[in-house]
């Protein structure tokens, strides 16, 4: 019998009632009396010197409140970067300034030049058109390899190079890796590009800045995954507003996928302008603006080499990657191709020697930062592609080659600095073989061939590091933040519970799954538990939601706070029943004394805490409210095996996904339905990356895919009904719930399965194609077959 409440129950998502009935409260729903609107005049050239900005005529236009330019932000901080990477020589990365509004130069199409604040948005736009710009266009830096050649134009003149850092990991292993390659029986090499993506959450970014002249307090309402982080970064580094005078609220947020982690210029602008003008200022991104101002994802160019011995054991791996940073360093950009990517290069395999080189490059393109999976999809894609290629070259079964090299003993310390606590890679692979019906594949291939189609089956494994992260560890790696999480559990006098979490839900379903944990612990129904998130004035300092960390880190903080509550409640119960605290048991919402029929209900204990007439006041305080901060001792390591079957139309090159199966080990699972949904969405995005999505620039730095006319998002008809299985569970060993996190797995695990399947299909038709870069579009498949 599936459970109907508590941990393990597939409770329907309570937040969906408001999301599906149009009663959500998104940032754009927030309107403050008397608010003005800002329109950002953005650069239409990729690279240019600003000779002059004449706003005189524009400022005199109807409704204009004020026009701001970069000059208004001189002496004010730029947007800070939250992670400092140290290069292979021990030098810190290059960290050029990132002004709120462009100063001196524009560096990408979409770079904001001026901000026009007016009574209405149309008036602001009209005035923006009247601003006279004199911008001298400069040669654009677009191609990463050309960007680091001598004589390239420079995105940032004062740092004298377009190379942000040249990172070697683990630099001390480099010699041993070279030696292993020289002794290898076989070396497989693959060069590939991990395509640039635009996250495209359904809700575009919005910011409303407000200022209260009476109190001197600033408030920012914003579409953020981590309001506390925005408060700290913007308050301390950009605007100089201390936290107690600054409130950041991220209400309902319609999808983030990483792109709403970062602190953006528009947020700082609206907060700043509201204070300057003593009037609320609102900005709502259009979809067109989103394409050129939301941080993009991925964009790596990689060469990977795998060395094997005569028995097909992996002996060494080395990679060289160019990672696009775009024009400025977005908040966590430097960490993505390094600590979120290099550390994952062991994958599920016991390769003893690994060397990863990453060159991060500035270009005249939109900044690139974390996008669902962040670094781990890039790692998984190259590794799982090169293994498939090696299997083909060696004439061995790709599944067997993987199995032979699986890590089987845990904990396992990889040569790339992480220690996997648990996992069972054979178990997820066994389950995959079963649910994807490998045995029936040859028959299905024959059916496809009878229809004139080529059929392919692709498999891959993945490992990810989630539950970000042990603060002391990431501190050593260059993080400028701690990565704990917080929760306050407030029990009301009549027994209801409010959890104020530092995690943020922007689609993940915290409001449903977090109460299931409390319900399990205390034994009260879920509907007596309310989750509060997204407001720095209501929750303790938290780090927000990304990196599949909410339940593993935020949930753990909640468990710790709830444990404190239960301990205190037991003391109260012991007093009420005149028993010894050690004999008190909590079950199904009632405290009882072991071995007796004495019991007192949860509600009575709560009431006693707030009406402490009969209460051990000499020992404990009244009230029932506890806060905990939880700092994980390790990452969590979800893993799994994915299988995709495709059909390729050999005449047109069109790929259709015939089936997709996923087996994931997420450790313990709180709400299986939500986990399925997270995996479905992730695979959808992975299929989008593999087959459709492509953020492309021309050689002048013009964005070619600047709207949905050219940027292909996956739609329902592009994806199959997924088979997902989460029955292989090796609980995380170091967090109280034994959970690992499931938010990114689908996006990490699916692209290589798709591409492996396409390559398999082409080989079945006699096309000796070794690789096609994503998106594997019909035209690229056709070109590869006919090339």
């Amino acid at each position: 019998m599936p459970k109907d409440h508590g941990i393990g129950a597939s409770n329907k998502r309570r937040e969906d009632i408001r999301f599906l009935t149009g009663t959500g409260n998104y940032t754009d729903d927030i309107n403050i009396h008397g608010q003005a609107y800002v329109y950002f005049l953005r650069s239409d050239v990729a690279h240019g010197k600003i000779n002059s900005i004449d706003t005189a005529a524009a400022a005199a236009m109807p409704g204009v409140v004020r026009i701001f330019t970069g000059a208004d932000f001189e002496g004010i901080g730029g947007l800070p970067c939250g992670w400092q990477v140290t290069d292979k020589h021990g030098e810190p990365m290059k960290e050029p300034p990132h002004p709120v509004l462009a100063q001196g130069k524009v560096r990408h199409v979409g770079d904001p030049i001026a901000a026009v604040v007016a009574d209405s948005l149309d008036q602001a736009r009209d005035a923006a058109e009247a601003i006279e710009l004199d911008i001298e266009e400069l040669p654009a830096v677009v191609d990463m390899k050309a960007a680091v050649q001598e004589g390239s134009a420079l995105v940032h003149d004062d740092i004298g190079t377009n190379l942000c850092y040249d990172w070697g990991f683990v630099e001390e292993n480099k010699g041993a890796v070279e030696e292993a390659f020289s002794k290898a029986a076989h070396v497989t090499t693959l060069e590939l590009r991990n395509n640039r993506l635009v996250a495209n959450p359904m809700e575009p970014r919005v910011a409303v800045g407000d200022f209260n002249r009476a109190s001197g307090d600033s408030t920012l309402y914003t579409t953020s995954q981590n309001p506390h982080v925005i408060r700290l970064l913007m308050g301390a580094f950009v605007l100089g507003i201390p936290e107690h005078k600054l409130r950041v609220v991220a209400p309902d947020v319609g999808g983030g996928f990483g792109t709403k982690i970062f602190h953006y210029a528009e947020e700082a602008f609206c907060t700043f302008a509201a204070k300057q003008l003593n009037r609320a200022v609102k900005w709502t991104s259009s979809r067109s603006e989103a394409f050129m101002s939301d941080a993009h994802g991925r964009d790596h160019v990689t060469k990977i080499q795998l060395a094997l011995d005569a028995d097909n054991n992996f002996t060494a791996l080395r990679t060289e990657t160019y990672a696009n940073m775009g024009a400025y360093l977005s908040t966590f950009a430097p960490s993505v191709p390094t600590w979120l990517h290099g550390t994952l290069m062991a994958g599920n395999y016991k390769t003893p020697l690994i060397y990863v080189n990453v060159k991060a490059v500035f270009t005249n393109t939109v900044p690139v930062d974390a996008y669902r999976g962040a670094g781990r999809p890039e790692a998984t894609f190259q590794l799982e592609r090169v293994i498939d290629k090696a299997a083909r070259e060696l004439g061995v079964d790709p599944v067997e080659l993987r199995r032979q090299n699986f890590i089987t003993e845990f904990p396992y310390a990889t040569p790339v600095a992480v220690e996997y606590d648990t996992g069972d890679y054979h178990a997820t692979m066994d389950k995959l073989v079963e649910i994807a019906d490998f045995a029936g594949f040859e028959a299905r291939r024959k059916d496809s061939e009878a229809k004139g189609k080529l059929r392919g089956l692709g498999v891959n494994c993945y490992i990810e590091a989630c539950g970000i992260a042990p603060s002391n560890l990431v501190g050593q790696l260059g993080a400028r933040a701690g990565l704990y999480e917080s929760a306050t559990v407030r029990v009301n006098a009549t027994g209801g519970v409010v959890v104020m979490t530092g995690s943020h839900s922007h689609g993940q379903g915290h409001e449903t799954s977090f109460p299931q944990v409390i319900s399990e612990m205390i034994g009260i129904p879920e509907d007596q538990v309310e989750i509060v998130h997204g407001d720095t004035a209501r929750s303790p300092m938290g780090m927000g939601t990304y990196g599949s960390r909410s339940l593993a880190v935020g949930g753990s903080a909640m468990v710790r706070a709830a444990e404190k509550i239960i301990n205190k409640a037991k003391k109260i119960a012991a007093h009420l029943m005149e028993a010894s605290e050690g004999d008190i048991e909590l079950k199904d919402g009632a405290f009882s004394v072991a071995g007796t029929d004495k019991s007192v209900a949860w509600g009575e204990v709560c009431l006693a805490a707030y009406v402490p007439h009969n209460y051990p006041l000499e020992d404990i305080e009244p009230g029932l409210e506890e806060t905990a901060f939880y700092d994980p001792s390790n990452f969590t390591y979800p893993s799994g095996a994915y299988c995709c079957e495709v059909e390729v139309d050999p005449e047109t090159g069109k790929v259709t996904i015939e089936s997709f199966a996923a087996t994931d080990d997420f450790g313990n699972i709180v709400n299986p339905m939500i986990v399925d949904g997270q995996v479905h969405g992730g695979i959808g995005q992975g299929i989008g990356q593999a087959l459709l999505e492509n953020c492309a620039y021309d050689e002048n730095g013009q964005l070619l895919s600047a709207s949905y006319m050219d940027y292909a998002m996956p739609r329902a008809s592009d994806v199959p009904f997924y088979k997902v299985d989460h029955s292989c569970q090796t609980p995380c060993t170091h967090n109280p719930l034994g959970v690992k996190g499931c938010g990114e797995a689908g996006a990490i695990g699916s692209p290589p399965a798709v591409v492996n399947a396409v390559i398999d299909a082409l080989h079945s038709g006699g096309h000796k194609v070794e690789h096609i870069d994503m998106p594997v579009s019909p035209s690229r498949v056709w070109a590869a077959m006919n090339g």
């Binding site: 149309d122 459709l692 070619l704 019909p778 056709w782």
Partner: protein
């Protein structure tokens, strides 16, 4: 969007008058024009909606001709042309999504003449007649290159007359992002010969593939075009495919259209 005046006349005659104002523009379903206005890429003084004009609505078959009012929505064509001209109905039913099909009109599509739009291929392959408020224009004279037609300023497409073919089929290969035609081929077989029109592919907009027409007029079977290759000269190269790829697709889709037309 810039401010504009708005009129919704109920007759073609009134619409013609309303469109005489300088910088007045006709508004059909708004599926192309409204996004253009939102991006401030057009600044008409006035929009004259054609959607209140009853005489521009509807689908009717008379003898060998199917007549579609210029203001008829794609969804209506998809439903009401299905028995008289199934290939045309199927084309209309494959345009955009339900929202687009329930607003966009045949007149707007033909007036706009997007090089990747579907209707132009049907009109050209059918040898249709474009009826306006002042004249009738043969499809062969009407399409004059990307976004360019024989229409004068303020001229309204009031109806389109399609000779009903013996057999026809439209094969659309979708551009992955917009789902417009990356290449679309409409094949129509008449007693006096076969016409093949291609959309999506050429820098000159919709065109007739005369080599295929000749081959098919003699032998209406997929084999007749199996050996033919369209030239890649003048074909569009963009993010979604090279000119050579588009030229290749013309051959594949023509063959498939003939096979499907039966």
């Amino acid at each position: 969007m810039y401010a504009f005046d708005f009129e919704k006349p109920t007759s073609v005659a009134d619409a013609v008058v309303a469109l005489k104002d300088e910088d007045a523009l006709a508004l059909g379903g708004g599926q192309t024009l409204i996004p253009t206005l939102k991006q401030r890429l057009a600044s008409p003084s006035k929009l004259v909606s054609l959607m209140g004009i009853a005489e521009m609505q509807g689908v009717s078959a008379d003898g060998g001709t199917l007549t579609i009012g210029g203001g008829t929505k794609h969804a209506v064509v998809a439903a009401e042309a299905a028995s008289a001209y199934p290939a045309l109905a199927a084309l209309a039913g494959g345009i955009g999504d339900p929202a687009v099909r329930n607003r966009g009109t045949i007149g707007g599509s033909l007036a706009n003449n997007d090089p990747a739009a579907c209707y132009p291929s049907a009109a050209l392959a059918s040898g249709a007649t474009i009826v306006t408020d002042k004249r009738e224009i043969a499809a062969d004279d009407y399409f004059q290159g990307m976004f360019t037609t024989a229409l004068d300023e303020g001229e309204i497409v009031t109806a389109v007359k399609f000779p009903i073919p013996e057999a026809a089929n439209y094969q659309k290969f979708e551009q992955p992002a917009s789902r417009f035609a990356l290449v679309g081929v409409f094949v129509a077989k008449y007693a006096d010969g076969v016409r093949v029109a291609v959309t999506g592919a050429s820098e000159e907009g919709v065109f007739r593939w005369t080599e295929a027409e000749e081959a098919l007029s003699g032998n209406f079977s997929p084999d007749a075009v199996a050996g033919l290759a369209a030239s890649a000269d003048g074909m569009i190269t963009d993010l979604h495919g090279s000119g050579a790829y588009r030229a290749h697709l013309i051959g594949v889709l023509t063959k498939r259209a003939v096979a499907a037309a039966g």
